[in-house]
Amino acid sequence: MSTTPAPVAEQPTTPLDPDAAISVRGLVKRYGDRNAVDGLDLDIRRGEIFALLGPNGAGKTTTVEVLEGYRSRDGGDVAVLGVDPASGGRRWRADIGIVLQSGAGDSQLTCLELLTAQAAYYPDPRDPAEVLELVGLTEKARARGRSLSGGQRRRLDVALGIVGKPALLFLDEPTTGFDPEARRQFWSLIRSLRELGTTMLLTTHYLDEAEELADRVGVITAGRLVEVAVPAELGGRGQAPAVVSWTEDGARRTEATPTPTAFVAGLAARFPGEVPDLAVARPTLEDVYLQMIGQSA
């Protein structure tokens, strides 16, 4: 990917969106002489689940950590729930929940004790027992944090992130290391949080996860957001020709067509019965994503 390096003093093109949960204009973060984030613009609406995709080193985690108030920035304007994270105080922190990639650390406390302590930092927390129920850890209420399995630990991390009743929840690679069943359980947890009105910013390496959960996805490469779209439309996926494949005369045949229904009808007329090995495929989110980040699938 070739990107022209943006001048740091680049003027924001449009003002920050005051109604957005997260609004970013021209965000720049430098490490040494490298721009890890290089003029990034982003708006996340209230109530939406937004997935940030991108290869390692693209600036995903750096961007999220600027939004979370963990890192300072070198340029640009940022508003998270209407507040600049660089000056966000306890009041602001009370409205956001953070599930870190690294988790919340080891503990000798039980799950219920950890949640009860965490709830005490917030003005209007959820009931810790209800949160345990929500993440499916009720039977582990009296188990110590460090005795949990990997997947249970991650669910405890999520519980700690939501016990303060945040309006905005950051989830940094929440399901890494989950088995398929645990991921499906986690997805339904996220959907129930959405129903409670929580805005979520999710980073993930799993494209099926982004497709399953996100209202919109953004792809970040080389420190810039290259596209934002609903999962079905990303990379022109919605308009991309479908690929019809079948077997004829012992050979595999494929045809890319913008009108797959008509094409298949034509095929059906040519064959007496079933069209052998018929398949119609659209490019997957993974196909368009890999294309966008400049690796051929």
């Binding site: 922190r93 870190l100 005490a120 930092y121 003005p123």
Partner: protein, 270 residues
């Protein structure tokens, strides 16, 4: 957007919660209880049984060792405990997690201070009990208790702050333990804990005099030993004024180092 109508929880309540968390974290962890709390007690039991000789004036070495082992116990409960504990919490993400919540930052340190205080008091009480029951140690009397109190308070404050500062130098809990534990052990050898301070080579005495442990042990000797033994101190007296001054200086230095070096996140984390 709804206007914030609910108020942030009161500081006192968060402090209480953090104190509870820190006490549970310490007393539920077998390693910390054994190494920090029981190690000085084991030392007292072993040394009391082996080195029970007369150091002059009908005073046993165990009476002398009592002062030293309490000083070492305070060092373990504060400097070693803080350096290893906080380095661990920094590298495993606990600190980063906490700094992402609305918990007031002061609450973290209040919790640690309560933990050090509880562990220190527990260590001292157990040591005194074991000393009296097993070895007939003479307990301090009158104003000696007052000296005991200020030496323990100042020493533990200085060592807690130093421990918090040292935690920032370590990569993780294990590396903190690998550097702080041998350092504390050497310090105990040259500061008059295991051996009589006046029988240690002068150059070692000089090195020991830089650090707080020597002064804590010396101040506590004035509490546990009869007045006439002050004459066998290298200085010929307990030097209580200087004890207070050096410990106070370490409190100031330790505080400065903490403010300059404390980090809520791991170095490897950018």
């Amino acid at each position: 957007m709804t206007a914030p109508t609910t108020r942030l929880p009161a500081l006192a309540r968060v402090y209480r919660v953090r104190a509870g968390v820190e006490l549970k974290e310490f007393f539920r962890q077998r390693e910390s209880v054994v190494f920090t709390l029981m190690f000085p007690v084991i030392l007292l039991v072993v040394f009391g049984a082996v080195l029970d000789y007369d150091i002059g004036g009908g005073v046993s070495f165990t009476q002398y060792f009592m002062a030293g082992v309490i000083a070492a116990g305070i060092l373990g409960a504060s400097l070693q405990n803080m350096a290893i504990g906080i380095a661990t919490e920094r590298s495993d993400g606990t600190l980063k997690h906490l700094s992402g919540t609305p918990m007031p930052k002061s609450a973290y340190f209040i919790g640690k201070i309560v933990q050090v205080f509880a562990v220190t008091v527990a260590t001292i009480v157990i040591l005194l009990l074991v000393g009296v029951v097993l070895y007939g140690i003479d307990l301090p009397s009158g104003t000696q208790w007052l000296t005991f109190l200020w030496v323990a308070l100042l020493g533990s404050a200085a060592c807690t702050l130093l421990g918090i500062a040292v935690s920032s130098l370590a990569k993780n809990g294990r590396s903190a333990s690998a550097t702080v534990t041998p350092f504390a052990l050497v310090l105990q050898f040259i500061s008059g804990v295991f051996f009589r301070f006046d029988q240690i080579p002068t150059w070692m005495q000089t090195i020991a005099s830089v650090f707080p442990l020597k002064w804590m042990a010396q101040g506590l000797r004035s509490v546990f030993l009869p007045e006439q033994l002050a004459l066998s101190e290298p200085a010929g007296s307990w030097e209580l004024g200087r004890v207070a001054l050096v410990l106070l200086a370490w409190v100031v230095i330790g505080l400065g180092l903490c403010v300059m070096t404390f980090r809520w996140r791991d170095k490897a984390d950018g």
